[in-house]
Homo-oligomer: 123 residues x 2
């Protein structure tokens, strides 16, 4: 018999940001995380592994980003081949920086209403 | 034969905010819209109709909110009966106000990085 938990419920707040080009999600939390892993590892396959994502899925996300932005965000040295290296372009680094700025400005600006909302929840 | 569109793709940015109590979504865009319609119409069934949502679905959302918050957000005069009236409590009005503050503060604070991100998209 499992004991019923007496701990108070965890209260949390989540914000999700997405950039669209037409119906396509050009950028969102998953793609941003992938960009960061590519920047850190220099490899799409290693970035995919760290996100527990298939290489094909990661490559699809990279292709979508590169298709949606005016300049590609990721360059892979062998056209997406699993064994080649990959790196962010200047445009990729810029986009990553703007997204992080967005998150920081958001957190700083909304601290008070978020705290108010959370404080109204049942413990 | 459909003509191919020559219009540039629509660029857009979306932010989604959610408040959780444990695993449950206490508040999000749908519930906030429902609260506003209840405030405007004084009726869960009319609010549901305006959102093209079944009454049962709307009632479920109201129950979830009332369960997650320390004070109920919605009072319905006949315990949820479709023919009774409904109104926001003081707590419901507060929560709605905080959520709108959150959205406004967010928009004001993030205008610049959002503009930068959108400007990098292909037209």
């Amino acid at each position: 018999v499992a004991a019923t938990s007496q701990r108070p419920a965890k209260k949390s707040f989540k914000a999700l940001f997405r950039v669209y080009r037409g119906d396509e999600i050009a950028l969102g939390p998953g793609k941003v995380e992938l960009l960061e892993h590519i920047a850190q590892t220099g490899s799409i396959s290693e970035a995919a592994r760290r996100m527990k994502m298939s290489y094909n899925r990661a490559w699809l996300l990279v292709r979508t980003m590169n298709r949606c932005f005016a300049e590609p965000l990721v360059l892979s040295s062998r056209g997406g081949d699993q064994h080649g290296g990959a790196q962010l372009t200047k445009s990729g680094r810029d986009v990553l920086r703007f997204y992080r700025q967005l998150e920081t400005k958001f957190s700083n600006a909304t601290r008070q209403p978020v705290r108010e909302l959370l404080s109204r929840l049942k413990t």
